[in-house]
């Protein structure tokens, strides 16, 4: 018997648990075109919705005439605000405590705003009918500049009492939304006043868009016989959507089933609730038929949630030797026509107060002013935890500016200011407790990997060659050391609309020793079905290949707050481990019974319980599972199931060191990434292959944002970047080669030490690319130039610096 037992290592490998580069189980269907997305759903009698949208950024709606549209054969109904008002559904609450028009109620506040909703027998008729709806507008003055908006007499939100406080406190101006502060203002101003050196800069992080390949959409189906509403949609938070639908529609929550099927990328764009969902639900209730709404690419780029648009004015103080003594930041946040940011309720500027970054900055102050403008609402965390990209970009630019001010090497400046390993857990001046980190080790590893000193020598030679007229290309070395804050979050300070940001996992072990696990999150490409099974495999000793992971159906999955902000592994992953441990605890009792020993006399060993000191006597998890269903064990209920709702004690703080080496053509403004090195520390690594894939994807989105991607408006509020011709989405051609690397500093409070990784590369990537551009021109006097660094803007830098002769 004994010699038949596989070696322990083989048993571990057979589980495909933690640390295994297990192939993604999702890919079999995705690579064969067998995914099941919202737009794949077809139901008998299904109707199609389409929006009449405003061509103006700010206008009064004088009248809407739907007669011609209604007369078109195949049109079932045309909804306007007047139709929704009796139901109280012409406005809806936003995640940020504001409210937003579902359909234009007297005026429009951004180009593309929903004005009327056409319901027709097919998608083509709906589109034709949209053209037939006659809307009379009276144009109003347009505000696209948030600084201007705070001074203007033009009131955008006439529905709000200018004297009344908003959801986040007093408002200073009718176009002002909130002021949010962190840190010690007085102490920081004192430090700035007394400092040897103060560097000051305006850092703008431009407006962009998550642009998932699959746009937003839903199918609403109201069954009038049993009173149940089923809503399929591209939801990153299906359970929260169910609660919101219940609260605003009055339908009891048990009568609502929300299903997120396969989702083709979210990146924050699919967190919020959109007018299309509300109108489709109403349309299905009115008609008794299923109603599908799927936005097209232009609607996605122009109307559903944007990201960033933060004007960050910074001051950073230091000693002559470069030790940072204080940081001051005032941010003007352009939120568009409605405040529809997706942030935990108590954090209207997200976690922008992580903006002290990886540095031990004793004194700091942050204030954020939210402003209404005539742009689309949103402000979501585009592949980042709430506003962490903005914070990381801000501090990593300020460090570079300070290095210029001090005439110091930017790598050395970072090194002397990093929070030291022995300082963790570290209390930041702006209120966070960093759980763990080892920044110096990561930094040295990164600098050595790229041969940093040699690169600087090469750069110096290049500058001389450029000055001699031998080359028209400059070399930029972009440095970044970022610290993220993810895994929202502890219920004591993180909720969305009052819903605590815990997450959940429910596990059932089947009699033959396989299992199903259901979670409150939803994968949009992250590979949850692969990685969560691996966590469980290591916890309960059942092979990952024998575990089904299911998410996204609110009738079957336990309640959770969904997937965004790199929260799935820190929160739902922890719930998975904890639920697994409950399974293991019961399995231990069953094993002890079967082995006729006391519970304390057995211990877990990979895939079995063994008698302590007698490992040849054991019961495998497969045997234990069967026993749970066929033995009458005194004092133990039959079955083997567990559920865990996990409220994390703290956030997790992944970090990384990124270095980008970039060649820049000063005449065309073109760039070439010669090398990109990305070291990530996400704590315990569950699936290295998936981590690498996440890093590649996040870096490519970072490349897009830094080097070309933007949502731009003209002074009339017309969106100039509404198609993929002008909105930069990189292909394989534009994407450079990436070198990935890692260190491992496990989270001390997470059950398996994991920290989350999906968003790190975007948080760290953007400043790495941008710093490379800035660094290339540092020797010629560049301090700050706003993204995106597309060809003409880089050309403009060179031109302004006199490099075109």
């Amino acid at each position: 018997m004994n010699d038949m037992t596989p070696e322990r290592e083989e048993r571990v490998a057979g589980l495909k648990g933690l640390g295994c580069s297990r192939k993604r189980v999702e890919d079999a269907r995705f690579t064969q075109g067998k995914g099941n997305y919202v737009d794949d759903l077809k139901m008998p009698g299904m109707l199609h919705g389409d929006f009449v949208r405003s061509p103006y950024a700010h206008a009064r709606v004088k009248s809407i005439n739907t007669e011609a549209a209604m007369a078109l054969d195949g049109v079932v109904a045309v909804l306007t605000a007047a139709d929704l008002a009796p139901l109280g559904l012409h406005w809806m609450p936003t995640l940020a405590g504001d409210k937003q028009m579902v359909l234009a109620d007297g005026k429009v506040l951004f180009q593309g705003q929903e004005v009327a909703y056409v319901i027709a027998r097919d998608r083509y008729i709906a589109a034709d009918a949209v053209e037939l709806v006659e809307v009379e507008y009276e144009e109003l003055p347009v505000l696209t500049d948030p600084f201007e908006a705070l001074k203007s007499d033009v009131v955008l939100r006439e529905d709000l009492d200018p004297a009344a406080p908003g959801a986040h406190g007093p408002r200073k101006h009718p176009n002002h939304i909130f002021t949010w502060e962190a840190g010690d203002r007085e102490a920081t101003e004192q430090v700035l006043a007394e400092a040897d050196v103060v560097a000051e800069e305006m850092v703008y992080y431009h407006r962009t868009h998550p642009c998932p390949l699959e746009t937003c959409g839903c199918v609403a189906s109201m069954d009038k016989v049993n009173g149940k509403l089923t809503l399929w949609g591209t939801f990153q938070a299906p359970h929260a959507i169910r609660t919101v639908v219940s609260l605003i529609s009055g339908i009891e929550e048990h009568n609502i089933r929300v299903i997120s099927p396969d989702i083709g990328g979210g990146f924050g764009n699919k967190v919020g609730a959109y007018a299309g969902y509300v109108c489709s639900v109403v349309a299905s209730i009115v008609t008794g038929q299923p109603v599908k709404w799927v936005e097209d690419r232009m609607e996605n780029l122009m109307t559903t949630a944007f990201a960033r648009d933060y004007w960050m004015k910074g001051k950073i103080a230091a000693t002559k030797e470069g030790k940072i003594t204080g940081l001051w930041c005032h941010t003007t946040a352009d939120h568009g026509g409605f405040d529809a940011c997706a942030d935990p309720t108590k954090f209207p500027a997200g976690f922008m107060n992580i903006c002290t970054g990886s540095y031990d900055i004793p004194t700091a102050y942050l204030a954020v002013d939210g402003v209404y403008t005539n742009k689309a609402p949103g402000g979501v965390a585009y592949r980042c935890s709430f506003r962490v990209t903005e914070a990381a970009y801000f501090i990593e630019r300020m460090i570079e500016v300070l290095a210029i001010e001090l005439n110091m090497d930017a790598a050395e400046l970072r090194r002397i200011n990093f929070i030291r390993k022995d300082q963790f857990p570290y209390q930041s001046a702006l209120g966070w407790e960093y759980d763990s980190g080892d920044y110096h080790t990561a930094w040295d590893k990164a600098l050595n990997a790229v041969g940093y000193d040699d690169l600087r020598k090469e750069q110096a030679e290049r500058i001389e060659a450029f000055k001699r007229g031998e080359t028209r290309k400059l070399l930029g070395i972009g440095l970044t050391h970022f610290t993220e804050i993810v895994g929202a979050g502890p219920v004591k300070n993180c909720d969305i609309l009052g819903l605590g940001m815990f997450d959940s996992c429910e596990i059932r072990i089947h009699p033959t020793g396989s299992a199903i696990a259901r979670l409150g999150t939803i994968s949009q490409g992250q590979g949850h079905a692969t990685t969560f099974a691996q966590i469980l495999a290591s916890e309960i000793g059942i092979p990952a290949d024998s575990i089904t992971v299911e998410e996204g159906d609110t009738d079957t999955a336990p309640y959770g707050l969904g997937t965004y902000g790199s929260r799935s592994t820190p929160v739902a992953g922890a719930a998975t481990a904890m639920a697994g441990r409950k399974i293991r605890a019961k399995a231990q009792m069953i094993a002890a019974y079967l082995l006729e020993v006391h519970d304390d006399d057995v211990e877990f060993d990979v895939d079995r319980f063994v008698i302590k000191g007698a490992p040849e006597r054991f019961k495998t998890m497969k045997e234990i599972a069967f026993a749970a269903y066929n033995q009458a064990i005194p004092g133990i209920e039959p079955g083997l199931e567990a559920v865990s709702y996990y409220d994390p004690p703290n956030m997790t703080y992944p970090f990384g060191a990124y270095i980008c080496v970039m060649e820049i053509d000063v005449d065309t403004g073109e760039h070439q990434i010669r090398q990109f090195y990305a070291l990530d520390d996400c704590g315990t690594r569950i699936n290295p292959m998936i981590i690498e894939g996440q890093v590649h994807g996040g870096l490519t989105e970072a490349l897009a944002i830094a080097m070309g991607q933007e949502i731009a408006y003209d002074e009339m509020g017309n969106c100039k970047t509404g198609t993929l011709m002008d909105f930069f989405l990189p292909t394989a051609w534009e994407t450079p080669h990436y070198t990935t690397d890692h260190t491992v500093t496990p989270s001390p409070h997470h059950p398996i030490g994991a920290k989350g990784v999906g968003e790190s590369p975007n948080v760290g990537g953007v400043p790495a690319f941008s710093n490379a551009v800035h660094d290339a021109f540092r020797a010629f006097g560049l301090r700050q130039s706003h993204m995106p660094h597309d060809h003409w803007r880089i050309w403009k830098i060179a031109d302004d610096l006199g490099l075109h002769g």
């Binding site: 097209d296 065309t668 073109e670 051609w733 060809h791 050309w795």
Partner: protein, 284 residues
């Protein structure tokens, strides 16, 4: 991105095509690869009541290279251009240019006829054909006629082609000497920020002839006769190139768009033309 309703026709011979165009006038358009027209229809920027698909019409395909004369049927795709060894040998600039158009999937569908006939200033083939002094053959109710590429383009989307005519082929003499097609673009699939097509003949160490055309720097392609003339008789040194650039600058009229302001485009135009001239001269 849902087009308005339209009637779809798939005639088999040119007579039927011309008859349909005569019948429906302005409301009808012919479609070759459809990679410009269909997106415009989906955006409802073009509402075409009668769409005439040319893919079954006989006699519109084929690449012919015979005794120094090259003829491309209107339905020849960019991919076929890239794939033709005979064409690559006879006119390598086409190969170099076609590889810089859009992406492989688009090049399988996009045609030379559609590219030159559409009149979109962003398209690469019109400038290239002006550089090569190509002739376009048009078929209409009154039969066949030929128009020089250099006289075909009047304004953006406005060409010498009558509504009832179809561009059926493109022909030109096999170019001699060195060549280059240099294009700056923001990304794969984009139109040019600036592009230059250059053919240069060298004789006895000096430039014997030069033809230069620029793309997406005015509302039509620009064949800059004076820019070419500035090189002739020179050793194509820095001074000659500077003179050619100055001449080209006098002919283009770039306007600001998302690719950048006019001043940037002028700088980009100078850069791509300089590079194209140097590469063509090296190959001459």
């Amino acid at each position: 991105m849902i087009p308005a309703a339209f009637d779809y026709y798939r005639p088999k011979d040119m007579g039927d095509v011309v008859a349909l165009l005569q019948e429906h006038g302005d409301d009808a358009r012919v479609m070759a690869g459809g990679h410009s027209l269909i997106p415009m229809m989906k955006l409802r920027m073009a509402e075409i009541a009668h769409l005439i698909d040319l893919q079954d019409v006989a006699g519109l395909g084929g690449i012919s290279v015979e005794s120094g004369q090259i003829t491309l049927g209107a339905m020849v795709t960019q991919h076929e251009i890239i794939d033709s060894d005979a064409l690559r040998a006879a006119a390598p600039i086409l190969h170099e240019a076609a590889l810089q158009i859009a992406d492989p999937q688009v090049r399988y569908m996009g045609t030379v006829g559609g590219n030159v006939a559409n009149g979109d200033p962003g398209n690469d083939m019109p400038g290239l054909m002006q550089c090569l002094d190509a002739t376009f053959t048009l078929v209409g109710p009154d039969g066949k006629r030929e128009v020089a590429a250099r006289g075909f383009y009047h304004a953006a989307y406005m060409t010498d082609r009558d509504d009832s005519e179809v561009l059926t082929s493109v022909s030109f003499a096999a170019p001699k000497g060195g060549y280059a097609y240099e294009k700056q673009k923001r990304k794969i699939g984009d139109y040019a920020t600036a592009a230059a097509a250059v053919q240069i003949e060298k004789s006895g160490g000096v430039c014997a002839s030069a033809s230069i055309a620029m793309t997406n720097l005015s509302d039509t392609p620009i064949w800059s006769e004076t820019a070419g003339a500035a090189l002739v008789g020179t050793k194509v040194d820095d001074a000659a190139i500077a003179a050619a650039i100055a001449a080209m600058q006098a002919d283009i009229e770039p306007v600001e768009d998302n690719r950048g302001p006019a001043a940037f485009k002028r700088h980009a135009a100078a850069t791509v033309l300089t590079r194209a001239i140097r590469r063509a001269w090296d190959r001459a």
